[in-house]
Amino acid sequence: MSLPAALKDAAIATAVAFGLFFMLVGLRTEAGPTGALVLRQRWGDVALLCAMVFVGRLIITLWHARRTAREPAATNRWEGTLRLLSRWFAPVLLGVAVALPWIPGIGRAELDLGILVLTYVMLGWGLNIVVGLAGLLDLGYVAFYAVGAYSYALLAQYFGLSFWVCLPLAGILAAFWGVLLGFPVLRLRGDYLAIVTLAFGEIIRVVIVNWASFTGGPNGISGIPRPSFFGLPFSMEGGPGTFAGTFGLEPSPSHRVIFLYYLIFALAMLTNWVTIRLRRQPLGRAWEALREDEIACRALGINVTTTKLSAFAIGAMFGGFAGAFFATRQAFISPESFTFIESAIILAIVVLGGLGSQIGVAVAAIVMIGGFELFRQFEEWRMLVFGAAMVVIMVVKPRGLVGTRTPTIALGEKRAISKDLVAEGHG
């Protein structure tokens, strides 16, 4: 595209931007002296935004023109290097994750971030089973996260059970809910399935908020017992019978944090390992076949109902585990942690990962959650940028970061399958 045409295009974009911004940005409603609303004029901001749109649009147009004119040979070379790097990427990432607490310079804040990221990685891997492998659009995954968290909190509160006993129970309860919520929606496809699962998630949240006598309502549940090192509490007093005392260490709050870090790491790795194993087995293959073509599955004798329900149940189970971990890490839970936005974020992580890929989901979680946390000081702008990032990433890479699927078995060599052939799944 020639420069004059690009300039004209950018001018039109700027005109549109002006139309969008001049009222909502230019005239800000505020409470005036009498209490009624007055308007504060902010034309400088409008001008700035329009200028940004103009420049941004120009850059994008010119860059696009440059890219289409580029030789394909250059892009191939880029892809080759990428593939070489990706072979090493996963092990390096794993190594960093394992060694993180011991890397010099990593303090409490960074470990907390690591725990947060790993929690979302695990949630992403859990939802990946439902959305990425089986192709079932679930927009209410946060419900299972909530079930897991509240299960542990309530079981500990009413029955005094320890974390290690509650963890499998939380998973089982979440899996049970997975089946319960999955059952009525078996016939639904695509967007409808997404909306119903969204509605389920919201119903569960509203019920939690309102059933105060059981769940503590909007105030949540506090005083949830912290985890112990397999029975040895992380007490600050030291002495025999505590973690520090038994291992001859100076008691320190970082012991518990490091323990929590490795706990979520282990849980996430469990999710990953189970997923990889199942993919190589009939159940996992049936999930992927379901995503490709449900009718063909039925014609091959596969019980589509139980296959879908197993995806819901197993995905929900890992969500439940993550929820129980969340409860023990925070020692306090409230319905505010389980909103629809959480489901949307986890789904975005899975979609951004691409094509049911495990490493893709992990990278997506790191980028999105890590990025989000890093911009903490921007307060109210954070979510805005986050939403914009979701849009931009989808427009640029609609199938996600990972563009290929690796088969689980081969007579000869396993070769990557391009994303153009892999189905997205319609539920």
């Binding site: 159940l283 076949a289 014609a299 052939l421």
Partner: protein, 267 residues
């Protein structure tokens, strides 16, 4: 000739439209039975009833799996019919495009493999006889890949195969379910004459291995050359049922295909 499939008074209604009306015929064991008829005759509807995608409004479908073992198919859910031994292919190919040919054939053996995984958990933990069962399944897949001349493409994504190979892969996949009856929906559609000949060869091989075949087809060359028996439908009604030669000469069949115009001319 003993029958492998008995269709009795099968009727399928969609609201006010009767697509299949009181159709009765038998498909012989160890034979190839072809269902033909002009477009809109109800062939695919009949097929969908037999293979469990529609529930018939009236009538019976009996599969005689073994002497003394007959199953009524009309009330079974779709996947149970496949489990009972009826496999099918589709008019618009329904392969798992993002999976390799080999993976497609392994999915077909899902139920047998699931049984060996010890409720899934055993296999995840590495226990149970799953590995052995998978090896056997791969062998069976290999057998059918060879029979359909697709062994070289075993590790290629099904969606990347050329059309003729996709058709053959779909048949190979259906055969991996070890069916008693194989139902093919227009298997020769879009094939050139050489490919049609190869298809006929493949069907003879399948027959020799003990599976009976029921097929819908428009390609008269294929139908006449390999069918043992031909059933003709027109507007949902069975109008002829016999050997290929007999059906070809049947005036009712000719009228159905060429229209009623001859009568006016004669009159």
């Amino acid at each position: 000739m003993s029958a492998i499939l008995d269709v009795r008074a099968l009727t399928m209604r969609f609201g006010g439209l009767t697509a299949v009306k009181q159709v009765s015929f038998s498909a012989g064991a160890g034979e190839i039975t072809a269902v033909i008829g002009p477009n809109g005759a109800g062939k695919t509807t009949l097929f969908n009833c037999i293979t469990g995608f529609y529930r018939p409004s009236e009538g019976e479908i009996l599969l005689h799996r073994a002497p003394g073992e007959s199953i009524a198919l009309q009330t079974l859910a779709g996947h149970r019919i496949a489990q009972a031994g009826v496999a099918r292919t589709f008019q618009n190919i329904r392969l798992f495009a993002g999976m390799t040919a080999l993976e497609n054939l392994l999915v077909a053996q899902h139920n047998r493999l699931m049984a060996s995984t010890g409720f899934g958990i055993g296999a995840v933990l590495g226990l149970s006889g799953y590995l052995k069962a998978e090896r056997l399944a791969v062998e069976r897949a290999r057998h059918w890949l060879e029979a359909t001349d697709l062994l070289a493409r075993a590790d290629d994504p099904a969606g990347a195969l050329p059309y003729g190979q996709q058709r053959r892969l779909e048949i190979a996949r259906a055969m991996c379910t070890e069916p008693t009856l194989l139902c093919l929906d227009e298997p020769a559609a879009g094939l050139n004459p050489r490919e049609s000949e190869e298809l006929s060869e493949l069907l003879r091989v399948i027959l020799a291995q003990g599976t009976s075949i029921l097929l819908i087809e428009h390609d008269m060359g294929v139908v006449m050359s390999i069918s043992d028996r031909v059933v003709v439908l027109d507007h949902g009604v069975l109008i002829a049922d016999g050997s290929p030669a007999a059906v070809r000469a049947d005036p009712k069949v000719i009228a159905a295909y060429l229209g009623e115009g001859d009568e006016d001319e004669a009159a």
